[in-house]
């Protein structure tokens, strides 16, 4: 995970967000338990260095650049993936603790775990019998 400010490329990509230039929205699965929320996001072609995850207020942003080993002079003959970037935003509920997100990224598959903040975890009330 990197801070937006330290990455000039990320700054440039923010500008492009407002235009309709090609960005692929990566596919995601979201599960939730009482412990927190788990997101899986497919980002094939992105390496760890060009993956950017940040939270601004309650918005979680995931951005990644597709970096393939492309030889000089390669001419595309068929393309399912036409854009070079992935980008997707999620709004986090206030019960999630965005300061303690755990990220794991392997072979283009990102797993994020966002714990539910302590005060939002369900608590069992003990009943004392007198």
């Amino acid at each position: 995970m990197r801070e937006e400010q330290n990455n000039p490329e990320a700054k440039a990509s923010i500008k492009q967000t407002s235009s309709t230039t090609s960005v692929t929205q990566p596919l995601a699965d979201i599960f939730e338990t009482q412990e927190g929320a788990t997101l899986y996001i497919d980002l094939p072609g992105v390496d760890k260095e060009s993956l950017n995850i940040d939270v601004d207020k309650d918005v979680l942003s995931i951005k990644g650049k597709i970096a393939l080993d492309i030889p000089d002079g390669l001419e595309a003959t068929y393309m399912d993936i036409r854009s070079g970037r992935y980008e997707r935003h999620f709004t986090l509920g206030e019960e999630l603790d965005s300061h303690n997100i755990q990220a794991d990224f392997k072979q283009g598959e990102l797993k994020l775990f966002i714990p539910r903040s302590e005060r939002h975890k369900p608590r069992k009330i003990e009943i004392k019998t007198g």
Binding site: L27, A37, G45, A67, L68, R82, T91, K106, G108, E109
Partner: protein, 144 residues
């Protein structure tokens, strides 16, 4: 009501605006159904054909890549972690799961014996050299 609220901590950031901005990707998302996974990009240089298959998070031993005649096919099965429905809930399930197979036709000019495959960052890169004789040749014209 409290439990209802707790059930929906996630929501898309203004879905309508997203649709407006990312219309292209929304359309392409629908295209990747069964039979259209994995996404594939293909390119060629003078010397070789390159195939990029976007198959995130799979073990290479679960992938089968075969070239037969001039057909390149990739097959496998993607098993995704299941949500424990007793303990929680599923909000989105967009990623492909299950068995898949995709076949592409290679140009006749490739030499299947030279095929090499590398799996990196969730993309399978396949490189196949073209036959030497398929490089452009100048034909001499003799006058009679």
């Amino acid at each position: 009501m409290i439990s209802e609220m707790l059930r929906f901590p996630f929501s898309m950031l203004d879905e309508d605006i997203e649709k407006l901005f990312y219309q292209d990707s929304f359309q392409s998302r629908g295209r990747y159904g069964r039979g259209n996974y994995p996404a594939i990009n293909i390119g060629a240089t003078d010397k070789s054909v390159k195939v990029y298959m976007f198959i995130p998070g799979i073990k290479t031993e679960d992938l089968d890549v075969v070239i037969e005649k001039n057909m390149l096919s990739v097959s496998g099965e993607r098993v995704l972690p299941e949500a424990d429905e007793r303990k929680g809930a599923t909000y989105r399930r967009e990623r492909f799961s299950g068995p898949f197979k995709r076949t592409i036709t290679l140009p006749d000019s490739v030499d299947a014996d030279t095929a090499e495959a590398i799996y990196k960052n969730g993309v399978l890169h396949i490189s196949i050299a073209k036959h030497v004789e398929s490089e452009p040749r100048q034909i001499k014209i003799s006058v009679q």
